[in-house]
Amino acid sequence: MKTVLRYALLRWRGQIIGWGVALAMLAFIVASLYDVALQMRGQLEQLLKGMPPELMMFVGGVDRVFSPAGFLDTRYFSMLPLLLGVFAVLIGSGLVVGDEENGTLDLILAHPVRRVDLIIGRWLAFCVALLGILAMAWLGLIIASSFTSIKFGWLDMALPFVALFGVLIWFGGLALLLSMIMPSRRLAASLTGLILAASYFVTAFARLSPNLSVLAKWSPLTYYQGGSAIEGFNVGNFGGLLLMAIVSVLLSVWLFQRRDIRIAGEGGWRLSFFARRLRKA
């Protein structure tokens, strides 16, 4: 499993560095703008007051925009699930099926590697990759904040990233699970991406429309705290997302152990195990 984990990280090292540096730079830019926003507060408040109340609710109110945690939330942490969600969905859907579709999985599984070790090793690599990216972004935020009036402790500033990690592994786990069932990685990634986008908008618009609040309960992003985690981390939300991700991974392991490995170019739904069971029944 150690070899699988290590080589998966080696393969993704470019992406990890790329995403990490980009998010760190974005954190740097956003944090740097906070003092500018404070200096222009009067003008900006006038501008915000002219906005429709629905839109104000969307950003969380005037006071929230000018509090350090609120500013970071609306300007940075609220968009990270969508941005980094792309990485989570693509990596999650390709953890095993990527190699299966490009034909390299046959040779790997012809070695003395248990299927469960392969999938768990890759999953752990995915988690480490996410933590690496988030750590770089966190570092960017800490460095940038030290030059501004955002005065949070280092650990406090890590909490929104921990919350983000929870929601990202939820989507990564879903992408992995769907890739075990659907005919192609692309389809699994597309469907998970669609769920990610839908979840983002349902959660956002639920603040405007009470009718959507029932639907929002099913949206994983409802349980993502974003920047407000700095002021109080919700362990229950994080634990729930983590638990769901673990369930997705365990289901994926169960499915992967029971199905045929396809050769490159093969298509079709991956339900041959169930079809065999049905035939035998």
């Binding site: 070899t3 699988v4 034909g103 390299t104 599984l109 012809a110 590697v113 065999r276």
Partner: protein, 300 residues
């Protein structure tokens, strides 16, 4: 399970939807032999090999690999196997050496690195090249090296010489013979019949998911019809020749030469010919390829 067998399958079946890929494959491969698995594309060669590796699960039948059940003891079985897939794909992010080290680590570093270097040298494979820059033939060489480098007890090779030039093909066949000399069993599929004839101790012919023949290549050839052209000093009466079992006339010529078909033993014909003044005897021995083709053109 017979302990003298490296591979044993009985009634192996596998279908993909409505397509029956294997329709009851029965195979016994002895330990230490080189077994050539012949068949055209789509006959079930690769499906059989993938069942042996537990990459796919058969619908029915039993299989044993080195005395073990490859589904129940999958890791233990694969630890003793060197596998070369028919359509080899390698991770292009690494150099050849990094790719080989990755495969070695997957085996817990149970490999002979000096042997891997020796094989690479013999195959003119540069370990420092990046996999993405390799030609198809060079990628095949990487596949050969990774299959052999840990000196496995069983080699499963799907089209091992595919994409290689004749010189390299000979190197690969030499390496396979060396592996056998060191005690390995080699099960390889091919449709290059000349190489099968050259190195296989026995061959199995698979046709539409069923093994239709297992024999040693020489026995297959010996069993087949031979064409015998005989030139006599003067015309002879053919009755004595045509009375012999297995001998039929193809062409009488001008009476002093004759073209015959001979099935089975040549002994009686040679002894009968000794009574005549013979100028020349030309025996056309069919190639394995002709025999193989006959299986696919004559049988329903």
């Amino acid at each position: 399970m017979n302990e003298s067998l490296a591979l044993q399958t009985q009634g192996l079946t596998k279908s993909y939807g409505k397509v029956l890929a294997l329709r009851g494959v029965d195979l016994d491969v002895r330990r230490g032999e080189i077994f050539g698995f012949l068949g055209p594309n789509g006959s079930g060669k690769t499906t059989t090999i993938r069942c042996l590796l537990d990459l796919i699960r058969p619908d029915g039948g039993t299989l044993r690999v080195l005395g073990r059940d490859p589904q129940r003891e999958s890791v233990a079985v694969r630890a003793q196997i060197g596998y070369l897939p028919g359509e080899l794909r390698l991770d292009e992010a690494f150099t050849v050496e990094a790719a080989l080290r990755f495969f070695s680590r997957l085996r817990g570093n149970h490999m002979d690195w000096a042997y891997a270097r020796d094989l690479s040298d013999r195959l003119n494979l540069d370990l420092q090249l990046r996999v993405k820059n390799l030609s198809k033939g060079n990628k095949q060489k990487v596949g050969i090296v990774q299959a052999l480098m840990h000196r496995p007890a069983l080699l499963l090779l799907d089209e091992p010489t595919g994409g290689l030039d004749p010189l390299m093909q000979q190197q690969v066949l030499r390496a396979i013979r060396e592996a056998q000399a060191n005690g390995a069993t080699v099960f390889f599929s091919s449709h290059v019949l000349s190489e099968v004839e050259e190195i296989a101790d026995r061959v199995g012919i698979i046709r539409s998911g069923v093994v239709v023949e297992v024999a040693d290549p020489q026995a297959l050839i010996d069993r087949a019809l031979r064409r015998v052209r005989v030139r006599f000093k003067k015309p002879i009466e053919l009755e004595a020749l045509l009375r012999l079992p297995g001998v039929t006339l193809i062409d009488q010529g001008d009476g002093s030469s004759v073209l015959l078909n001979v099935a089975g033993d040549m002994d009686q014909l040679i002894k009968t010919l000794a009574a005549y003044a013979v100028i020349d005897v030309d025996i056309e021995r069919p190639s394995l390829e002709e025999i193989f083709l006959a299986y696919y053109t004559e049988q329903p």
